[in-house]
Symmetry: C2
Subunit: 361 residues, 2 copies
C-alpha cells in the first residue's frame, strides 16, 4: 500500500460550489442558479457557458441542501432484523427496484439480531430524516414493532409481521402456495399424501399444513396426521423424515415438503432406499431457492414465494404512505408454482414393482 501525498491533498479539496461555477463562467450567482435550474430568461450562450463551467468543474447540485428546503430527504431506511439470508436477496432487490425508480435512495441497516444495534440504526435513520422505513426479516414470524417514540413516520413490515392492526405487513400467501402444490400433485394422479415440514411454531408451517388438509378434503382424499412430520429447516431432517415415513407407510405416492432444503434431503433419502422420484413418489418443495431446487436429482418442482415482487410491493406501498396514504393490515402476495421433474405423473407399472420389492425387503 503506497501513500501518495499529492493524491491525499486532492482528496481533501472541497467540492465545487455554485459560486465557483458562477465565477468560472463570469456571471452572477443568481444567473448561474437560473442557468442550472433551466429557469428564468437567459441568453442561450450564457446558459451554455454556465453549463460548460459546471461540467468542467464537476459541479453537482447538493441534495442535502435541497432536502432541507423541500422537507423530504428522498431516502428510506431498510432495517433487516436478521442476518441477511437468501430470502433477503430477492426481497431487497425488489424494494430497491420500486424506490430507485422514484429517485429514492435506500439506507441499509442490519441489526444482526441485536436490540441495541436496532435502536442505534433507528436513531441514525431518524437523525437523517428518512422519509420512511421498511422492516424485513429472514422469517415471516411475528416480531415487536420498532420504536419511533413520538414520531409518526411511514413504516412497512415486509416478510415479517407485527401484532398491531394499525401497521401494514406484507407477507407471502402461504395458503395459496400450498394449494398450488397439492392441487398439482392431485392432477398428477397422486392420492397417498405425506407432508414433511419445518418447526410447528412457524406461522408458515401452520398455514401450509392447514391448506393441504383443506385441498385434500375438497377432493375426498383421505389423510392421516401420522403423515405430517415436523422438524428442522434442514436437509438432514428431510433425509431422516423420509426414512421414518417410508418405514411406517410404504404406500405413500406424494410428499409435499415445507422447503426446498427439506425436499432435497427427502429425495436423497428415497434414492438410497431404491425409491424413484417421480415414478414412485412425486415431490414438491417450497421457496424456489434456485441453486438448491435445480441441483436436486431430479430437479425440484416447488412453490416460488415471489419475494422480488413482494419487495417491489413493499417499496410501492411505502411511496404511497410517503404521499400521505395509510394502508394497514396484512397484504399477501400470491405464490406461483415452478414445475420441474420431481412431480411428473405416476408411472403405474414401475411403481407397483418397486413397492412390491420394498415390502419384500
Amino acid at each position: 500500500m503506497a501513500q501518495d501525498k499529492e493524491n491525499t491533498e486532492r482528496i481533501l479539496r472541497p467540492l465545487p460550489t455554485l459560486s465557483d461555477v458562477a465565477q468560472a463562467a463570469g456571471v452572477a450567482l443568481s444567473t448561474a442558479s437560473k442557468a442550472l435550474n433551466g429557469q428564468g430568461k437567459l441568453r442561450p450562450e450564457t446558459r451554455e457557458r454556465v453549463l460548460e463551467a459546471a461540467k468542467q468543474l464537476g459541479f453537482r447540485p447538493n441534495d442535502l441542501a435541497q432536502s432541507l428546503v423541500r422537507g423530504r430527504s428522498f431516502t428510506v431506511g431498510l432495517l433487516s432484523t436478521d442476518n441477511y439470508g437468501r430470502f433477503s436477496i430477492p426481497l431487497v432487490t425488489g424494494i430497491e427496484d420500486a424506490l430507485v425508480n422514484a429517485q429514492i435512495s435506500v439506507f441499509l441497516c442490519n441489526t444482526l439480531g441485536s436490540p441495541e444495534r436496532e435502536q442505534q440504526h433507528l436513531d441514525s435513520l431518524l437523525a437523517k430524516h428518512v422519509d420512511g422505513i421498511i422492516v424485513t426479516s429472514d422469517r415471516t414470524n411475528s416480531r415487536a414493532p420498532i420504536d419511533l417514540g413520538k414520531l409518526d413516520l411511514p413504516v412497512i413490515y415486509a416478510y415479517t409481521r407485527v401484532e398491531d392492526p394499525n401497521v401494514l405487513c406484507i407477507l407471502p400467501d402461504d395458503e395459496q402456495g400450498a394449494r398450488l402444490a397439492v392441487e398439482h400433485l392431485i392432477k398428477q394422479g397422486r392420492r397417498h399424501f405425506a407432508h414433511i415440514t419445518g418447526p410447528v411454531y412457524f406461522e408458515a408451517v401452520q398455514l401450509r399444513a392447514k391448506e393441504m388438509r383443506a385441498v385434500l378434503g375438497e377432493h375426498d382424499i383421505p389423510f392421516t396426521e401420522r403423515r405430517v412430520l415436523s422438524g428442522a429447516w434442514e436437509e438432514s431432517w428431510g433425509y431422516e423424515a423420509a426414512n421414518i415415513l417410508l418405514d411406517r407407510d410404504p404406500l405413500i405416492d406424494a410428499i409435499f415438503c415445507g422447503s426446498d432444503q427439506i425436499a432435497r434431503g427427502v429425495v436423497d433419502g428415497l434414492r438410497e432406499r431404491g425409491i424413484r422420484v417421480p415414478e414412485d413418489i412425486a415431490i414438491t418443495g417450497f421457496d424456489n431457492w434456485e441453486v438448491m431446487a435445480t441441483a436436486v436429482r431430479p430437479p425440484l418442482t416447488t412453490v416460488d414465494l415471489n419475494l422480488h415482487e413482494l419487495g417491489k410491493l413493499a417499496g410501492t406501498r411505502l411511496l404511497q404512505m410517503i404521499d400521505g396514504q395509510r394502508p394497514t393490515g396484512i397484504e399477501r402476495v400470491p405464490c406461483s408454482l415452478v414445475v420441474r421433474e420431481s412431480s411428473a405423473a405416476q408411472s403405474k407399472s414401475i411403481q407397483t414393482k418397486s413397492k412390491i420389492q420394498q415390502r419384500e425387503a
Copy 2:
C-alpha cells in the same frame, strides 16, 4: 387495506424544529440550541426544561443541516455490480460492521449488472455528497473502474478488481487458501491428487490451480495436467467430472475442489460409484458456504474466504481514505481452513479393497 383519514393527516405533520422546542420551553432559540448541544452557560433547570421539551416533542437534531456545515455527509455508497448473491451477504455485514461503528450510514445501490443503472446510482450518490464509495461484486474478476468524472472521492473495490494501480482492491488470498487445503490433504497421507474447478477465465481458478502445483512440487508429489478438470461453478459439473476422472484414473486419493458446490457434486458422484469419502478419496471444497458444506455427506472440509473480515477491512480502509490517506494496489485477506469429515486420514485396508473391486468391475 383500510385507509385512515386521521392517520393520513398525522403522517403529514412536519417534524418538530428547534424553534418548536424553544417555544415549548419558553426560551430563546439560541438558548435552546446551547442546551441541546451541551454548550454555553445555562442554569441547570433551564437546560433541563429544554431537554424535556425536546423529548416531549420528539425533536431530533437534523443530520442534513449538520452535514452541510461540516462538509461531510457521514454516508457512503455500497455499489454492488451483480445481483446480491451469497458472497455479498458476509461481505456487506462486514462493511456495515466497520462503518456503523464509525456512525456512518450505508446507501445500498444494486446495479443489477446494468451500466445505465450504475450511472443512475452514482449520480444519486454524488448528489447526496457521500464521503466515499465501496464497489463490490459477486466475483473477484476484474471490471471497469466506476466513472466519477472530475470528482476525486475515496473509492474501494472489495471482492472485485480493476486494472488500475492507483486504486485499492481488496481480495481473498486465493493462493494461500489453496495452499492450506493441499497441505492439509498431504498431511492426511494423500499422494494422488486431482483438481475439479470452475471456468479457467476466473483469476481465482488460475491462482488456486497454480498454487496447488507449487505445493505438490515442494513435496515431490507427481501431478499430471490430465487431472485438472475445469467446468461450470455447478454441482452437476462436479458430479460429471468425478465420473470422467475416475473412469480415467481410479488411483486418485484426493480431490481438491474449486468450490463447495462442485465438491458436493463430486461427493455424490463418488458415492454412487461405491467410492467412499474420505476412506478412499479425501475431498476439500472452497468458499465455506455453510448451508452447502454442512449438507454434504460427509460434511465438507473447505477453505473459508473470510468475507466478513474482508468487508470489515474494506470499511476500515475507506474510513482511512476519508481521513485523507490514499492506500492503493491489491490487498489480500488470508483464507482459513475449516476441517470437517470429508478429508480424514486414509484408511489403507478399505481403500485397497475398494480399488480392487473397482478395477474388476
